[in-house]
Amino acid sequence: MTETPTPTPAPEVVLSPLHDEHVALGATMTPFAGWQMPLRYAGDLAEHQAVRTAAGLFDLSHMGELHVDGPGAGAALDHALVGNLSALAIGRARYTMIVQPDGGILDDLIVYRLGDEAYLVVANASNVAVVRDALAVRLEGFDASLTDRSLETALIAVQGPRAAEIVTGLTDPAHVDAVRDVRYYAGMPATVGGVEALVARTGYTGEDGFELFVPADAAPGLWRDLLAAGTPLGLVPAGLSARDSLRLEAGMPLYGNELDTTTAPHDAGLGRVVKLDKTGPDGEPLPFVGREALAARAHATPSRVLVGLVGSGRRAARHGYEVVASTAADAVTVGRVTSGAPSPTLGTPIAMAYVTPEVSAVGTELAVDVRGRREPVRVVALPFYTRA
């Protein structure tokens, strides 16, 4: 009797360790990068406003957690990424990118240095496999190991002006002062709600806030504790819809919108993350992946510039819409919108767009083609919103 070969299973939808919590809260779920994630709970606007005025609780368990460990971990990441990660202090975090040899962005990342020989690379859900595979290749020859802990790690974010109060309220007394004082783009291990967590002061909303990396099986209890502790202070669970409108107001790029493999960091106004001058152990310039292409980009005149646009009307430009020179019917195309929405905080349409350098100066009057009608917009400095 012969065994029938097992057919390759179809890719399954991954459920967050917090899935049952979302269902119990009545969330509208949406497929996102192979996961089922909460799009909204009570409503996009209320969630957005809660984060601006009190706090929001986000499930970000779909994000990828890739651990790079070993004596050569720092050098390996210096080679693999555009940033200078060996110079990162223990307990600090850095926004960085992984690019193709031609400089095109594979993903934008936050890298945490957890120890002398321990790094955590946090990747976008849609790019975890790409980043993992690229890192595996780029780590060859270095004394460093790569472990994908995405599925066993849950990520819960508490964002908003009341976030510190809520998180420290649940923090082990031995860690309260340290957690309260942890700086932006830094993280530390702490016990929160009885759970061993990596507590990081990072976020994607433009507000103060924390991101808590915890074991997946401990996430539901911590989620409920945060909800219970935060609700009296105005905290509400917030979904991906609010997350998107919050990050857009904060002028933060989203992979797939502002960033992709045809875009170099400099195009997105993020040339500062590229450390062309980082050196290897021998003091020689380090030939990291993408260095040659990015060195050329650093000195070249860009063909397009990422700008902010604010509309004076009501109709919002959306991802993919054309930017044109004026509202005239024969106005030429000067760019394309990457993200756009009616801003809940500003009350006007906002958008990010790539435009030609000639029309990128703040104050330039342009227009966007919103489903066949040209709506006036003005170039503004990013971000659209800065917390007081």
Binding site: T28, R314, A316, A341
Partner: protein, 123 residues
């Protein structure tokens, strides 16, 4: 799950219509829920001619935007200005205070019964 009032007819584009003259048009709870919090309505102007199946306006939320189709042909006789001023009423009461416009109907387009629309909307 949404309820679909049996006194109304529907379109595949998620509008409802109450055929009592003049006919009243709105979007369904299903459409409003899918959009999220509605922040902007663009409605046809009073006196304009609308054609069944044609785009006559837009319904916009922070997350997305949807075109508004007229289920019938005729002349717009009234628009819901209070919904334009406070679009959240379309989320909270899409079949009542969140109605959008009224039409003197000259001819109806392809309309769905409650059961037909419920099958489509809950598919």
């Amino acid at each position: 799950m949404s309820d679909f009032p049996s006194t109304l007819q529907y379109t595949a584009e998620h509008e409802w219509i109450d055929s009592a003259e003049p006919a009243t048009v709105g979007i369904t709870q299903t459409a409003a829920d899918a959009l999220g919090d509605i922040v902007y309505l663009e409605l046809p102007t009073v006196g304009s001619e609308v054609a069944a199946g044609a785009v006559v306006g837009e319904v916009e939320s922070t997350k997305s935007v949807s075109e508004l189709f007229s289920p019938v042909s005729g002349t717009v006789v009234e628009v819901n200005q209070s919904a334009v001023d406070e679009p959240s009423v379309v989320n909270s009461d899409p079949y009542g205070a969140g109605w959008l416009f009224k039409v003197d109907v000259t001819s109806a387009g392809t309309l769905l019964s409650t059961d037909e629309y419920a099958a489509l909307a809950t598919d």
